[in-house]
Structure formats: C-alpha cells, structure tokens
Symmetry: C2
Subunit: 151 residues, 2 copies
C-alpha cells in the first residue's frame, strides 16, 4: 500500500488470533443463547434480559430510556421489546408521575413468574456455552478487560 497513512502497527499473531475469536464469539454466542431460550422457553434473549433488569429495579419499574441504556438497546428497540412484553401481560406501561412525557415499564406479577420460570434455561445455556470453558481463566482479569471494550 503506497498511500500515506498513520503509523498503525499491524497486529501480532496473538492479537490477530484474539480478534478472530472475538469476531466469532460476538456473532455466534448471542445466536446460540437466543436459540436455546427460544427452544426451551419460547422467550427471546432480548425479552429475557429486559425482564431480568426490570426485576432488579426498585419497585420493578424503570423509565424507558433508562431501560434502553441498561439493555444496550436503542430507544426504538426498547419500545418494541416492551410492546411485545406488554402484549403478553409481562410488563405494563404507566405514565411517569413527575414528567408526563415519560413512561415507566413495570414488571407485572406474571412477568416475574415468567422470568423465574425461564431463568434456569438461561443459566444452563450460559454454563454450557461460557462457564464450562473457563477453567484456568482469571475471571477478575477477564471482567476487567471486557468492561473497557467498546466504550
């Protein structure tokens, strides 16, 4: 390549290998976990995750925008997830007291029950695809690295 360019060091062999594995995992892992959840619980991973974060919020309630950020979804994305969950009676939308522009998504009792029914499948999937392969890995170090990715 003959064009002038910034001094970018190429990757070494280890970095190259990491990048390719990361590419694979990024694509495949969400797919297989979602497939597990669909097969065993007919609950997409996105909906499971949303229920999970809602269940941990005070009063099982979160503003839409807050929920979107927590779930790593766009605002329109969370609108659609919540609409689907609402149709199943698992969450409700209630207007926000202090700001009538805002909406809270609230986890219903049915939603909590659904989550409690579904979590073993999610846990099993996570074990199967992730934790069963972590022997000899320093978790703390790994978490620390992941936490800074894509920020």
């Amino acid at each position: 390549m003959s064009t002038p360019e910034q001094p970018l060091q190429p990757l070494n062999a280890n970095e190259e290998a990491l990048l390719r594995e990361l590419g694979r995992v990024m694509i495949v892992l969400p797919r297989v976990i979602d497939a597990d959840m669909m097969r065993e619980e007919h609950l997409p991973l996105s909906e499971y995750t949303t229920l999970m974060y809602l269940s941990e919020a005070p009063n099982r309630l979160m503003r839409m925008s807050e929920l979107a950020a927590t779930c790593n979804l766009s605002l329109s994305g969370i609108t659609r997830v919540v609409t689907r969950l609402e149709k199943q009676g698992l969450v409700e939308r209630v207007r926000c007291d202090e700001d009538a522009r805002g909406w809270n998504a609230v986890l219903t009792d049915a939603g909590l029950a659904r989550l409690e029914k579904a979590w073993p499948a999610h846990l099993a999937s996570a074990r199967r695809h992730v934790f069963d392969h972590l022997e000899g890995t320093d978790l703390t170090q790994l978490i620390h690295a992941l936490r800074r990715f894509a920020t």
Copy 2:
C-alpha cells in the same frame, strides 16, 4: 420456585458480572466496529470480513458453503453478502469445476484493492475498542477461553 429441577448452581458474583459484561460486549462491539467501518469506509463489517477471509484462501477463492462457515454466517446469509459484493465488482461467482452444483466466490483485483484500502480503518477500530484495553491481560489465556465458547 417449587417445580422439580436439575441441580443448577446459581452463579457467583464474579460469574454474574462476567455474564453481564459479555452480554454487553456481544451486543455493542459488533455494532461499534460496524459503525466505524461504515463511517470511514462505507463497507459493512460483514463484507469486510468476507473479503478478508477470501483474500487468505488459496487462489483467493472459496466455495460458498466453506465461506459461510468461515464467516460464521448461514448459507443464505453468505449468498446475500456475496451478491452485494458481486454488484460492487469485488468478488465474482464462478462455477465449481468438479461439481456443477457448487459455486466459488473469487476475490477480484478490485476486491483486493478495496480490502487493502479498508483494513487500516478496521485495525484502528479494533485497537480503539479492544486492544487498547487489554493491558495486564494474558492474551493466550483469553484466546484459549474464547475459542471454546459457544461450541
């Protein structure tokens, strides 16, 4: 929960944290790298990856099914990527000599040039979102763990 169930140990705090970070990275990392590639090169990550793997194949040529597996795409997914690349003149489809059902995707000279133009953007993105945050991480250990995920 009162239903009988398999003895699933819940996750400890570290595992819980890892799972959530992994959830975030799986979702966000492909998105930001793709966004970088689009902004700087108008080349989606899926197309870049496809060109890259093709460039490394003998004769810059691969069977569709082989390419799909390598790129972690479904067969129909790779059909569509290759069709888009073909429209841009970056790859060609040529019938497979030894089996007329099969097709090879071949990287054209234009495709190779496109790849060489684009890779600095990809490398920079990978550095920015991944490698710049790996200080103090044992790469070999990490690669080894990732390689076994979702298999």
